[in-house]
């Protein structure tokens, strides 16, 4: 297995308290963090980022970063681009579950249903694809243009 832990990618995720999209984006990001990837994924705490967290802002200046949005206010992207620099990619939960659903009532993780878990997994799948694509670009740029494997420890590209 080829592991490129020196490749670091940030995820600035909405952890919003305004609507369901915030719960979905938060959970998708957390699930991503709990996976083993062939590269390093760091979640940048949006509230800390906004409150002046220099470590978070510095990371986003130095490494490619994806903004994961819970709704169409795009708070994560706006904050990252205001304090650090252009994001490498953006993912909006509303694009997967629709604006109406994304902006529906905020939900406790205690009350997540199978339907919500499907939404989370859908966003997670797309997030993983985007992270893999960025990692591949980084590997090419680093001159280590080999296939980065998935999480399962073999070269099949699958996940545990």
């Amino acid at each position: 297995m080829v592991v490129e832990k020196n490749i670091k990618i940030g995820v600035v995720s909405c952890s919003g308290e305004d609507c369901l999209g915030g719960t979905i984006s938060r959970m998708a990001t957390r699930k991503m963090m709990d996976e083993n990837t062939a590269y390093t994924v760091a979640t940048l705490c949006l509230p800390l980022f906004l409150a002046g967290g220099e470590e978070e802002r510095g990371f986003a200046r130095k490494y490619p970063t994806i903004a994961l949005e819970g709704c169409s206010k795009y708070c994560a992207k706006r904050a990252t681009e205001k304090y650090s620099g252009k994001v490498s990619d953006v993912l909006n939960v509303a694009d997967f579950i629709g604006d109406e659903m994304a902006e529906s009532k905020l939900l406790s993780t205690r009350n997540l249903t199978d339907e919500h878990m499907q939404m989370i997994n859908q966003v997670l799948t797309e997030l993983r694809k985007k992270l893999d694509a960025i990692a591949k670009d980084c590997a090419v740029a680093n001159g280590s243009d080999h296939e980065l494997t998935g999480n399962c420890g073999c070269s099949c590209g699958g996940n545990k």
């Binding site: 952890s15 990001t29 709990d34 509230p47 800390l48 409150a51 406790s108």
Partner: protein, 133 residues
């Protein structure tokens, strides 16, 4: 804009305390004092949009923070909220040393127990502030 007291958690992504703050705020405003309190999206408030500013400026706030950075308390104050109480979620966990509360993704039963305790404290504070008003 609603006169309800704003309960604002940090909702931090890195540790269990951020999740606990978020869940305690939700329980308080949704179940315990829904007519007297509501939560606000901290990230949106901090964008500086006029609509976001209107939601917090001049309103009584209770903040819940998961780490010593106190992002919720600092941000609420910066945005013009009147922070009446700053809760540090970690203090609630200190009363239950050694418990396995879960992580930043999910909470265990013990974690939910602490969340419920924090939510009850928040609700009491909301009622107290309501009487003062």
């Amino acid at each position: 804009m609603s006169k309800k007291i704003k309960v604002i958690p940090c909702s931090g992504m890195g540790k269990v305390f951020g999740l606990a703050a978020r869940e305690a705020a939700l329980k308080a405003v949704d179940e315990l004092v829904p007519d007297e309190a509501e939560t606000l999206c901290l990230a949106y408030v901090m964008t500086g949009d006029e609509a976001a500013k209107d939601k917090i400026e001049g309103y009584d706030c209770i903040t819940l923070d998961g780490c010593p950075a106190l992002c919720a308390a600092k941000s609420a104050a910066i945005c013009g909220g009147i922070v009446k109480e700053e809760y540090r979620v970690v203090d609630a966990f200190k009363k239950h040393r050694g418990i396995k509360a879960g992580g930043a993704t999910t909470l265990t039963e013990d974690g939910w127990m602490v969340v419920d305790e924090i939510a009850a404290q928040i609700a009491d504070k909301v009622k107290e502030l309501g009487k003062e008003a």
